[in-house]
């Protein structure tokens, strides 16, 4: 489908939403929207897609309560706003949309989280992507480095051929917010696998130590919890170039969630997990067992960390022997460790010893 076809379809779907609200009011009902519950309890593993999607539990957003009524009003404002953007061939960032709501009176958002969530609600109900609504996220600066050649259509409409090792500086190739085919084509790669790294410090360490060339790796900087485009790009590389993916993060509860959103699908975006998640991605560390085995320097778990770990024990995505074991070990230790704690044994230890050992364990050494 071309862009304008997708936009036209988005307009139709948005019209349906407004029409449903209109019909409910004109037939004297309390208007409501029914949306799949976006909770930990309502994600199910889809065996065909091998990712986690929303289950069948539905929730209602009704005008009976103040919050629900406000959200419905905001929905109407957003619908109008999106239609207007499509008509005028404009687009806006999610943050701009949040600020535009300043003029919406009672429909004003109280935080950007709220407006982002509503944009996602609309994706779910309209079965569209937010790009179809002309909404885009801020650039988040995630980057990739390694022997990979792509073409990107730049802002002037020219196709640019870029090798992500030779044509870029030390900060790597910046992953744009749109990584779909119309914008970005993957041409060729000499790499054997992708290593997705949580922190910038470790990304730089691997680059400085020449890990990408020595091991044939593409280094992807996740920058914390990865943005949609980063996950989508990794997924495309995995599918189109048949590159296995390993994820290398800190050893703490939040990093486990970073891995979960790369490999299993995030709860927030479970409606599009099949576009974003790479089910074959492997976690190589830092694991709780690494903290013990490598005698890593640690920090104490905070109360928030402990709560996060306990929540993960109830998260269906972590419900297997490996994760239960890791989470329980970490709770027992009461400790967490950063990736860069490996520097205890010297700057080269991570690339000379730790990663080769860990990759060997999963048969990729």
């Amino acid at each position: 489908m071309t862009n304008s076809e997708r936009n036209a379809e988005a307009v139709d779907r948005l019209y349906e939403i407004a029409n449903s609200i209109y019909d409910q009011i004109s037939s004297g009902k309390i208007p409501k929207m029914v949306i799949p519950l976006r909770t930990k309890g309502n994600i199910r593993f889809d065996p065909k897609l091998a990712v986690w999607k929303y289950g069948k539990a539905m929730g209602a957003r009704t005008a009976k309560k103040t919050k629900g009524a406000q959200m419905l009003l905001r929905t109407m404002f957003i619908l109008e706003f999106i239609e207007d953007m499509i008509a005028r061939s404009k687009s806006s960032t999610l943050r701009e949309m949040y600020y535009i709501s300043e003029g919406w009176g009672k429909g004003k958002f109280s935080s950007q989280d709220e407006s982002n969530m509503l944009a996602e609600d609309l994706e779910i109900v309209a079965r569209c992507m937010r790009e179809d609504f002309k909404l885009r996220p801020e650039e988040n600066g995630a980057s990739i480095i390694g022997d990979l050649t792509i073409t990107e259509v730049d802002r002037k409409g020219r196709k640019k051929r870029i090798n992500c090792r030779d044509d870029v500086g030390d900060s790597g190739y910046g992953i744009p917010y749109n990584v779909e085919r119309e914008k970005l084509e993957i041409l060729e790669t000499g790499a054997k696998f992708i290593i997705a790294i949580e922190t910038g410090g470790m990304f730089d360490r691997l680059m400085e130590n020449g890990f990408d060339e020595e091991f044939g790796a593409l280094l992807v900087h996740l920058k914390g919890q990865p943005a949609r485009s980063t996950r989508r790009f990794v997924k495309r590389l995995n599918e189109e170039m048949k590159l296995p993916v390993v994820v290398f993060t800190d050893g703490d509860p939040w990093s486990f969630r970073i891995f979960a959103s790369v490999a299993y699908g995030a709860i927030k975006t479970a409606h599009i997990s099949e576009y974003l998640a790479t089910p074959t991605a492997e976690f190589i560390g830092i694991t709780a067992s690494d903290i013990v085995n490598y005698e890593l320097p640690t920090d104490k778990l905070t109360d928030m960390d402990v709560r996060a770990l306990n929540a993960e024990l109830r998260d269906p995505r972590f419900n297997d022997d490996f994760w239960r074991g890791e989470i329980e070990t970490m709770l027992q230790l009461g400790k967490k460790a950063e990736q860069q704690a490996l520097a205890k044994y010297g700057l080269d230890y991570v690339t000379d010893t730790y990663l080769p050992e860990k990759l060997g364990e999963i048969g990729m050494g």
Partner: protein
């Protein structure tokens, strides 16, 4: 006894002839502090040895949580924006010492004070409950007055049709008669406005009553004309056939009162099921209705059985995986 804040509500128990408690609640009193206890014996304030006094013991020994105050474990001095005042009057007061600083802890005395305090507490709870109901209804009122019309207008604009009538939706959300009253003071007169909104699916007729300070009502400035004005400041209006989602306004002036002496309207309704009306109480029994005939109104139809539905916006789960 007076306090600096005029919003406090004074609730007086008829209790025993020997002990008279009062609870002042609200206003600008801090909500996160223990309540202030004021003790009196035969009109003399007791300033010292609060902990040794039977009044304190009586207060500490009661479970105030059921009366709407916070209390850890259901004993001790309760927390909340309140002042508890207890006066003990007797020909013989059993003080703990000659200094007359505290009253001795005699079980009968404690029991007596607690009985009176409980009566007082019940009134406090009634007051708080009423306030809560009014608050909830007020939230719905904002939905139907401000948010819903905008939703209807916007959706109509998007689909390119006329703005739909809101009657059905409004009455389904509210399903009550809502009374919103206000008091303003200007040029030595209190102007009272009582707005009656019928948010039920049917048209409604009932009687509205107000109890005002005797002799203060300015009859000429009263709109519409009352159907009855009686001794003791009892004013009644017959409100006939307010259509569904319609409203009427009753206004009157009070003169000859000091500034800040009148801060709450006493409004009552008769001839309507009390559960269908928010903002006016059922008419008390001592208000004898001479000319006004009270029609018993059948109870409103049971609310439609609501489907078990999860509220999407109130799951309270944080979806962010980020720290």
């Amino acid at each position: 006894m007076r306090t600096s804040n005029r919003n406090s509500t004074l609730l007086r128990s008829q209790g025993s002839p020997r002990s008279t408690p009062a609870i002042l609640f609200g206003g600008n009193l801090p909500g996160d502090q223990p309540v202030t206890i004021l003790r009196f014996a035969n009109r003399v304030p007791l300033l010292y040895q609060q902990g040794a006094c039977v009044i304190t013991k009586a207060i500490e020994g009661m479970d105030w949580r059921r009366y709407g105050l916070e209390q850890r474990g259901g004993e001790g001095v309760p927390f909340g924006p309140a002042i508890i005042l207890v006066h003990v009057a007797s020909t013989k007061i059993p003080f703990t010492s000659e200094a007359k600083e505290a009253i001795a802890n005699i079980p009968e005395m404690q029991e007596e004070i607690q009985l009176a305090l409980k009566a007082c507490g019940r009134k406090l709870k009634t007051h708080l409950n009423k306030r809560e109901t009014k608050g909830k209804t007020k939230a719905k009122f904002e939905i139907v007055r401000e948010i819903l019309p905008l939703i209807a207008e916007k959706s109509a604009k998007i689909v390119g049709k006329d703005v739909p009538s809101l009657t059905g939706t409004i009455t389904k959300i509210m399903n009550v008669v809502w009374i919103d009253d206000s008091i303003t003071f200007e040029k030595d007169r209190y102007k009272v406005k009582v707005k009656v909104y019928n948010y039920t699916p049917k048209s409604q007729s009932f009687n509205l009553h107000a109890l005002v300070p005797e002799g203060a009502l300015d009859e000429k400035a009263t709109v519409p004309r009352p159907s009855e004005i009686k001794e003791g400041g009892k004013v009644s209006w017959e409100l006939k056939r307010i259509p569904s989602t319609g409203d009427v306004e009753v206004s009157f002036d009070l003169t000859g009162l000091d500034a800040e002496s009148y801060d709450e309207n006493e409004l009552y309704a008769s001839g309507i099921n009390p559960v269908s009306i928010i903002g006016a109480d059922p008419l008390p029994g001592d208000w004898d209705l001479e000319r006004i005939r009270v029609e018993e109104v059948e109870a409103p139809a049971e609310e439609e059985a609501e489907e078990e539905e999860v509220d999407y916006d109130e799951q309270g789960e944080v979806l962010n995986d980020e720290q």
